[in-house]
Symmetry: C2
């Protein structure tokens, strides 16, 4: 590896303390800064640019599948939040309350949205009257506030950015299909863009969203074997429609309750990318969402023609739709190498006087550290191919890690005996008490009931009674 | 015109009551819905899509000029807001206060950002140490909250969407240049994209932003002659740097205060577009930011081949980069015509069995109401040309209105004698008392001191003393 030792030594070794390694990589690589309000962080340009690339990818998928963006208010009156009893029970302990506007005390407290089901319901009640008005497939990009006790960069903030989709349909079937379609879109986002393999399936009763009939999740595994719930979709049946009195006249002019869904992913995905792909030199960003795909470092930049050639190369790559950047500062090449590595730039391009004479340059892959010379002629095609390779390589590597760290267990003792962190597949009778007992004994929560089921045994990992569901357990961030 | 009388009769005549016409157009054409919190509205899909197009245009210009997007927290501690005395005096009366997180009372109140200068200053203090760290040219897209007493759709909300740029520079000259460059970018956005002509220039002392050394504005005129401040840029000198103790080591290693700017435009621009271009049938959207540029209406859609031909045409236009939509519902063509007109779709394309037989269709311009037949062969080029024409036509029409409604006045009596609303150019001695006296007598506020000065007379419109500045007055939304 070409990293500059003076810079990288600041990063805690990933194997020694994964948590501290993560904090170092996030803070030292200028992704975030802390504000004076605990848990409310500043997303610095590089972090926000990653989010913009995620937004662009997902927003495109949502629009192609007929979703429209809207913007709902930030503030929810207390009485509105209380309309659906499970939702209020789930969120009331962790909302921020506005009590004063200017110098005046408000007649009713307003909370800052922790999620916007109530606002969408109020709006749907206003605009949905006939079967002609259905479905509505709305989405919004915004921030939400949840007054969490403990926080961690990207994974758990008091304020975070997300998208929340809220749809409403004439039939239960259609709403259920939407719930599952959105899960597929989230899986596609994670696997195809973020190179993060997922396990898909419903959450258990005890892990579902407050007020939902059922919740589905994509579950990812971080490099250290700990799980991250990367996205969820919820099917509400007609519970919210009944609580908010949303009714429409069907084709026979009969007043009917519609069916709803909601679904969201957040900036926590950025934390996931770092924890899945990062290494001892810092981050590694999947090329498809990396703000900078190729970092150009002029070597012996003072020599005639080097800077000009590097600039020209940058323009060529930009023209070919490759996100290229050049560090023309007066720092040393070694410093620049370490900086691009820490930032997670997938490919580094070095060009110096000797390369110029040969009509070539050097390419260094961030994922494998391998360096190889490349001719400048037609380099755009070569680079595009390498970026694809890196994208695929990161996904394969993460898939291998997921596979290697996923085992089966037939009993709680077997689960407890496991020393390496990871996912554990086990049979489950379906009882909440058994799920809770596993959590109590092992510290692991259920991740989901994977769609891809296996028959590991015939009996529940906890109570030994007949069991026909395979449930995946794991520690979580 | 082809409007369906049954639909359009709901819109108040624009000449009779411009304010009510505006409310009708905004509400009936499904741009917004009201929430249960006064002044906090829902931006419905069509309104949000206009905002997305404005964002895309402006974000592109900002990135091309070296600006980076970031995200700052929503909440500001009271003590942080109070660091700069003018800013807190300006905003404290209209901020919303968070006093509780979950069930606990906070030790310090937090306000929801009314603007983010204080947060950017705190962050700049953390990250700026050396001349190498300058400049920083940051921007954020977010919502802000200002607890206004009276509200009006798009023009004045308690919560609104905007972008706020915040930059920091080594020299006063560079910061001042940024302030003026951003004003030019706002003018370009308004004129080239929104077809809204602007007057550019500094605001007077009494109209500048709290804490700013100077404020510059782009001022637009609505169709009824009333002014709208469409965007502002502020030069802060080193006032905020001193208040927040932001210092950097310059090249001689001397600790130095940097210079700052901020600038913003908001969703109020959507209100401006409607008020500048709308007519008795509803909105007219400039093609460059219209979510739908061409609305296709199949005529006699039950006849063989009509729907298929209309669909194929839509796909052709989409492939050519034209935002086309087709209304294939079972409503009558007349209903669809009125709907597209109300929505402000710049061009309507009608296609029926007779057109099909002739390999042609009918195109109706929203701005002039003129209909003309067009051959289907190469129609993409023809439509792109027509859209350009409409864009230019709207800008010219708005320029004519601005010109026709802008007059000069030599005295306050002359100003008061004016019956038609519009802008009044007049000479001004530079005293705040004279500016105030004009406002008291006429109800008109100063808009700005235009960069394009004229010498109307040699004496102040109010006090009669020597005057060398031309100031523009006008009523405002």
């Amino acid at each position: 590896m070409t990293g500059n030792a003076k810079l990288v030594e600041h990063i805690t070794a990933r194997g020694a303390d994964f948590g501290q390694w993560y904090t170092d990589v996030v803070k030292k690589a200028a992704l975030i800064d802390y504000s004076s309000v605990k848990g409310c962080v500043i997303l610095r340009p590089y972090a926000y640019a990653i989010w913009e690339n995620i937004q662009k990818a997902l927003d495109g998928m949502l629009k192609r599948t007929g979703h429209e963006n809207v913007y709902m208010p930030l503030l929810i009156p207390e009485s509105l939040l209380q309309r659906e009893k499970d939702l209020v029970a789930g969120f009331a302990p962790e909302v921020a309350w506005v009590t004063h506007g200017g110098h005046e005390k408000l007649t009713e407290r307003l909370c800052i949205r922790p999620t916007s089901e109530t606002l969408f319901c109020e709006h749907y009640r206003n605009i949905i009257h006939s079967w002609r008005d259905l479905p509505k497939k709305y989405n919004q990009w915004c921030s939400v506030v949840r007054w969490e006790k403990s926080t961690r960069p990207f994974l758990r903030h008091r304020e975070f950015l997300w998208q929340e989709g809220h749809t409403i349909h004439a039939t239960a079937d259609e709403a259920m299909r939407e719930t599952l379609d959105m899960l597929d879109i989230y899986a596609e986002l994670c696997e195809e863009w973020l190179a993060m393999p997922v396990i898909k399936g419903p959450k258990t009763e005890s892990e579902k969203f407050p007020g939902a009939h059922s919740t589905y999740a994509i579950e990812c595994m971080m490099h250290d074997g700990i799980g991250l719930q990367a996205g969820t979709t919820h099917y509400f049946e007609d519970t919210f429609a009944r609580a908010f009195e949303i009714q429409y006249a069907d084709k026979n002019n009969k007043m009917t309750y519609p069916f709803q869904t909601s679904w969201g992913v957040t900036t926590r995905l950025i934390g996931g990318i770092i924890m899945v792909h990062g290494d001892f030199s810092g981050r590694i960003l999947p090329p498809r969402i990396a703000p900078v795909q190729v970092g150009i470092v002029p070597v012996a930049a003072h020599k005639e023609g080097v800077l000009e050639a590097a600039s020209k190369l940058k323009e060529r790559l930009l023209a070919a739709g490759i996100r290229a950047d050049m560090d023309a500062s007066d720092q040393s090449p070694g410093w620049k190498f370490a900086e691009y590595e820490m930032k997670g730039v997938p490919l580094r391009l070095e060009i110096g006087p000797r390369d110029l004479a040969n009509g070539a340059c050097m390419l260094a892959r961030r994922d494998t550290g391998l360096k190889s010379p490349a001719s400048l002629e037609g380099i755009e095609t070569g680079i595009a191919g390498l970026l694809d390779d890196i994208q695929q390589g990161l996904l394969s590597r993460a898939r291998e890690n997921l596979k290697a760290r996923t085992v089966s267990a037939l009993s709680i003792d077997e689960m407890k005996a496991r020393t390496e962190k990871g996912f554990i597949k086990s049979m489950w009778c379906g009882s909440g008490a058994c799920e809770e007992a596993v959590k109590e004994s092992t510290g692991m929560k259920s991740r989901c009931i994977p769609f891809e089921q296996e028959r590991i045994s015939d009996t529940c990992v906890c109570c030994g009674k007949p069991a026909d569901k395979m449930l995946v357990f794991g520690f979580q961030y």
